[in-house]
Subunit: 161 residues, 2 copies
């Protein structure tokens, strides 16, 4: 995956927090995804498909997930209820949706978000795809973005004829 | 989600095990997804998008994941290495890919598979989508299929004008 493809997703995360959640997030150094990276406790996952296929994972600590839900829903959830799950799914949806508009060469559309929970969950991409990971610091704790995007072999246009 | 939409995915699971892995799987009773359902230890996840948006989750016990990898790769992995991850991702890809052909009214394309691991992971759909779950028994243990599919509001054609 080309490093430049991560930039629209990074901008989306920064913009979503700034405009919808009302806080600044500080971006850390990007790295190539290593197998076995542990994620934070709650991860929103959404698929991308078009002339490339991809997946976006937005992983939040429990505290960040609760604060995101509080900001989006104007309530103060104290536990990981369905409103918090929906808020994390919606944030993932917003991040992927805004980024796909900047990657129009791939004509991407996005799937339904799902939210994975579990203290020790890991998420792996196929071994022929190296995702790019970007950590962020929010006022309430850590957040990470992981994106893998691979051109679809069938998408190569047949020029012959 | 209409119950009939699950059938192509069920057929895909049965066919993939029968033709590629060389064993019969026994389908259990389908149920509507309940929040908080715990999954097996390894889950392949893939997004669907077109005029509907969806996600397919194929969750396997560790033993089933190892046997699937052994059958697909003709090796006998003893631990959850990257080959096993790839085999679970590929099985999820095959199941979703075969099913989308039978749901051509949605013009679905599939995203990149990812594989979630963790003994206690849960996976949740947005609360406005009720996924359908189907358990299967394989000769090596349990497997479950969970599919959520929602029509995309933007896909309603504007007839005016």
């Amino acid at each position: 995956m080309k490093a430049e493809y991560i930039n629209p997703f990074v901008r989306s995360v920064v913009n979503a927090f700034s405009t919808m959640i009302g806080c600044e997030v500080k971006r850390g150094q990007l790295s190539l995804g290593r197998p076995g990276n542990r994620l934070h406790e709650v991860s929103g996952v959404i698929g991308l498909s078009g002339t490339a296929a991809g997946t976006v994972v937005l992983s939040l600590s429990r505290e960040v997930a609760l604060k995101v839900a509080a900001a989006l829903l104007l309530v103060e959830p104290e536990e990981m209820n369905s409103e918090v799950i929906d808020a994390v799914g919606e944030l993932t949806n917003i991040v992927a949706g805004a980024a796909k508009g900047e990657l129009d060469q791939f004509q991407l559309s996005i799937s339904l978000p799902t939210v994975v929970m579990g203290r020790d969950h890991q998420m792996r991409f196929p071994s022929n795809v190296t995702p790019i990971c970007v950590p962020f610091e929010t006022p309430w704790g850590p957040l990470s973005l992981e994106v893998g995007l691979a051109p679809r072999p069938a998408a190569v246009p047949a020029e012959v004829g």
